[in-house]
Assembly symmetry: D2
Homo-oligomer: 426 residues x 4
């Protein structure tokens, strides 16, 4: 490894830093599917800001709008005062995003992070239903502030809370106990007067669990859950922070199942250009907020609104949803090849442009995550950036930007395949 | 009032929106101390993004750096991977900000909001001290996510949490019971084996309470609190989100008292240009974080780092701290005049560039906040933007940008004075 | 129904009173298996103080000891000072109860109620393991004070707490999802690093759930649970308050499975004569209590110790355990006949001297518990006292005293059979 | 010290045992104000079961009733079914205790311990007011189960809970900060919209704190608190478990201040003869309980009802309240003499028959409680049993039975005086 100037980080930045440990180089510029470091090396980026860069790095269209707005001294920070960029964003979102999809939601602009959107959604659900409990799925990730971390399932993250986490009941994800009808399990929790579990205000889930190890929820599960929530007067919250914004082939990931959640959280790629931004959508009849009951300093960061609207325009004009659905097969084929490297020991899962290569069975007597770490390191050497998620950190997460050209996509998948081959070879 | 095109907000945005209700116009551009609406009207901004715009709107120096960075396709979003803007920010912060002030802190980049910084600080304090309780002051505001909202004291915000808020003990602020030595009160909570109050991991406070109604904490109180924390092995957290970044005449508000907190939270103006950004600083020996134990998607938003460093350069080059300390007298004089409008019924308080005009005693038999609302409305008509805080929302918060020229500052204070006069006239 | 003098109860006692609503008469005396009301009517008692009267009403042996002790002015109330009755009880319990069963436990005398014993057990488990979470089974009942009510599963009881109940995870009971290996489910909660469930200090259970609807836990389940707790360094608490004291054919109900819990709670029949009394037993190495760390005014009520020792003598001398095991078949036969009344619609379950007749399927379109209430009322008219438990209150609980003579036992079972027949007849 | 047969306790009883450590002898019988050990030694009992023996040990009247009831095989255990002893108790209590005092309360029979009564009171208050928070006083003791321990203030007891204790706000007791109007402090918590403290369902207090160190609350404080509760629609709960039953000179301790609480808890001496028994009293309009919403196996222990009624008869017939008020002066005089032993270093406080000798200032550089422990040991040697309470366990609690003859009372006080003299002598 070439020597890098990373002294400042090591001396002054908290050891809480993490991703830099996987990619020991200093990045400077980026474009489309590529990242560049200060030695000028090019990397294909299959990590994409953990889902924040669905439209790739620095697309010209958005960049030009940002520069133009900055140069005309557009108002930058306005809390939740009225501004013209916000008005344009809202109008575009309602007319071009929601209405064509048959959706009627009100928009809330919480603080510009996913966890903030989730915290707002929890508050609203509890307020509307006057219940304290929330159901979340085992395997879920919903954020790192105290309200959302109680939903998050990763043991290390939970331990970091430093206090007891309550008012949440974790229910098994459908893939965990194939012999068990997990919807029926929830039904029992709700109808058995001796279950010991309080009726929740809401059920929250990712339609494809990302951090849990890339698990797309079956369509009939999602539909059954929607029906269960209706039967029991429980709100359904879809957390679309990571797998929304066309990542799965639909702008809203729940469109795949033809269901309509009561509340939706968005962040990451909704910011268009890697910009901090978040939205909470909810059915108009749920809008029981008092003015200012949830607020935040950066909920009116105008540059994000400029980028967000431009990003949505790109997504629609370039028919990104259709592109993703059409190209899902490319992933499926590559994954088949990867599985064939060690039949029965490698599992792959995914939908649209979000896939996982599960190498847990390759760890043998090594510590969990050994094989996946080897893949990550080999890929990085070969010029591909991927990260790991899931139980034991043993799943390589494959998440390129959605506008990537097919040759680069295939090149990245080839590197990944090669890295897996080298990593699990005898 | 001229008719405005605000239909989109009213139809589609959640009724949680708040500040727009006070300022019924659509803002488009901004520069220095001024905001402009789409009718081209100019407003002097004494609100400043609730403290996020200490260097004014859109300063050229920062703007040019941002445009330059965008135009060269600098990496925008990098989670916590190494990047050159981050390295430059860290080095500048350590060399130019911390060292000259004799401070040795490690830097953590949490999600880019104040509440996220506070949540990280709470986690770290609880982890380091292995205790769950935290002391916060009555009158405090520390954020709106579940961990920080338990510290926040505003009843409406707390009610919004929807669950019981625990693991926090609120202690009286020194101004609340003049007859009581509130440090001695805390000492008793800690030493009386029948106080019923658990020893905390930390005490958190704003050195000047902003949301509580503009209350600068006395220097001897801050020093006594530092000593009390030392005596009892308790961490001292200063939340400098709103009153940091030179607002009080010192880059770190606690410099006023010559104390060194164990943990410091920054956000709002640290972003330089209204950019979402936040920092947690802590003494190196407290850096017990595991990698990734607190994370967040936008903790590596590079544009904020560009703006933040440029903002710090400006602050230092233009000797903003000294300017603020020197000009405090302008406020003091204006406040004296305002108090004289209704002697004994108007109270003013402040330090540096953050002041409050407390009109509670002017409400008479009207609802709390009636007089302050009248001031706000009259000021807005006259071209001045101010907001309200404090008990009963009865305190007008006066918080211009720090680089404002004296004539504009005086003009704004004159408008405020006139608005108060009209509002409280018989 | 004859008119009764129950005015005082109706006027002055809180409407929280419950059992009196099922048995609208005033009881005066009792002996062996019989209760008598003030009209002189005799009732066979198959309720037995909800399990507090395993040796029947007022056995002469115990009565004589109590009278003798009272008449010699034996010390009555001594907190936890040393007394001779307490010394005799401890010695007898260690020598005659524990040692012959190969058990080595230390004894704690908590406040004289079951819930108090459970609260003490929870404290000790959490203290020893330094973990806050506890696993409890769905269907469980462990008491009504705030610590134990968090374990209790009955929805109405939980709602009465008035606050959010935390630090407990309810796991499915083995009978609830026959397709699911519920031990494996627990194993997954413990080993999946994304289960979202904190490792508990202890698992607590009744080896036969009483309030949940009379469900004896299978022996292999109990053994598997013991092994699981060992594997994961988790304490096993058996709550023997209701089904201990020979009720199931073994003094300790867990002897049926040949397992040794780490902590055992006893109350109800341990008091011998319906006396308030409770014990917590635990392995000596768990005795990390500080002096007085759990206390209570009536933990040294000497009359209970006199009765408790006398009761144990009776239990051993009269070989009650063997009697119960031998006579289990009488119940089994009666239950078979009851099931035959409406094949497929009546389910019966039980072990030893604790049985349930589950009439849920007989309610048809009526409210849950309609059929069981009819049985209870008919039985009462015919001179038999039984109560209801379980989901929807639809299970008639059959729990005679253990020293009952066979003719009376059979007579009671015949009345029950007849009541069921009349209740579910078309 | 003579050698004692205490092997069984040391080998088999948990080290949680506490009082026995102060009184290393084995007690066998007791009568009136005297305890006797197995060497036949007589002790004057100024501890009285921590307040459970207000009518002395084994009064003949009650004993005879108990024996008679046992001998006629009166029903012993009846849960909350109707029984004749319960009817007689209720009628007597209403007619002879409540009505003559102008009180109208409904009676609830919770489990037979003080903590159980407090848990029931908390549930009811939270249910009626639909609020979760409760105010309790610093210095308070209300029990050791999870709901009541959150009210209890002793640090060691709280630590034993093993979980975070919430939904309670501790407010300073009036004696703690003489410069502070602690009622006004509470008023501020309730009316300041930035206090950070949730409005409680109830305020609970002992009118004389016992465990906190014997602090009678001033009459005007109690009246002011009643008024404050009325003003803010908050319930007032008086916990009369320890200082009720005529201990302070009034059957209900709150009669001293002429106030009427909304809810009252009783236990300890209400059982008459050291019997486990407890009551919750509340205004009829608060009786919103559902049947069985709070229950407990031993809430219908009939022997306690026999003893309780007999005890009340004695208390009334022998005019115990008047006796106590008249003899308060005997204590006052003795305390004056005790204070004179070391002027300025010994403080005494009390009312009626409950007094404290505070020796904190005598500990000098020794550990807190050293001086009080010496007094306790010396008194025991001289044939007097007293215990310690309060901050640092430095207060000797003086609490003889109320029917004691004056010579014995004076003899006991003389022994105490002598023990103090020896303990604090130079």
């Amino acid at each position: 490894m070439r020597s890098q100037n990373t002294q400042a980080f090591e001396s002054y930045e908290s050891q809480v830093r993490s991703y830099c440990r996987s990619f020991p180089t200093v990045f400077t510029t980026a474009k489309g599917p590529f990242l560049y470091d200060e030695q000028g090396r090019e990397y294909i980026d299959f990590f994409c800001g953990a889902g924040a860069l669905n439209y790739g790095h620095n697309p010209d269209l958005i960049r030009d709008r940002l520069v133009e707005y900055l140069q005309k001294d557009g108002v930058m920070h306005a809390l939740d005062m009225y501004t013209s960029p916000k008005r344009e964003f809202i109008e575009f979102y309602e007319e071009k995003v929601l209405k064509p999809r048959g959706l009627s939601y009100k928009l809330q602009f919480p603080g510009p992070t996913g966890t903030n959107a989730v915290e707002a959604a929890l508050k609203l659900a509890r307020k509307v239903k006057k219940r304290q409990n929330i159901f979340a799925l085992m395997g879920a990730f919903h954020g790192m502030t105290l309200g959302s971390i109680a939903l998050t399932t990763d043991a290390a993250s939970r331990a970091g809370a430093g206090v007891s986490l309550g008012n949440v009941t974790h229910v098994p994800a459908p893939y965990m106990f194939p012999e068990l009808d997990t919807l029926q399990y929830m039904e029992t929790l709700l109808t058995d007067d001796h279950s010991g579990v309080e009726k929740p205000a809401a059920v929250i889930l990712e339609t494809t669990q990302a951090d849990g190890g890339i698990y797309p929820m079956p369509v009939d599960y999602l539909q059954g859950l929607r029906a269960l929530c209706d039967r029991h007067d429980i709100l359904l919250i879809v957390d679309d922070v990571q797998v929304g914004c066309a990542r799965t082939g639909w702008f809203f990931s729940f469109q795949r199942a033809g269901i309509v959640p009561d509340i939706v959280t968005q962040s990451k790629s909704i910011g268009g250009y890697g910009m901090p931004f978040a939205l909470v959508l909810f059915k108009p009849e749920l809008d029981l907020w008092e003015p200012g009951e949830h607020n935040g300093t950066f909920r009116g960061y105008q540059l994000s609104m400029i980028a967000a609207k431009a990003g949505l325009e790109m997504m629609l004009d370039q028919k990104v949803e259709e592109k993703v659905r059409a190209e899902e097969a490319i992933f499926a084929q590559a994954m088949e090849k990867i599985e064939a490297i060690a039949p029965g020991k490698i599992a792959t899962r995914g939908v649209g442009y979000v896939w996982g290569v599960d190498l847990a069975a390759c760890d043998g007597e090594n510590a969990p995550g050994t094989a996946s770490k080897r893949v990550l390191d080999l890929a990085f050497e070969k010029g591909l950036i991927v990260e790991r998620v899931g139980r034991g950190n043993s799943v390589v997460k494959v998440m390129p930007e959605l506008l990537i050209d097919q040759p680069t996509l295939r090149r990245g998948l080839d590197i990944l395949t090669e890295a897996v081959r080298e990593a699990v070879a005898p």
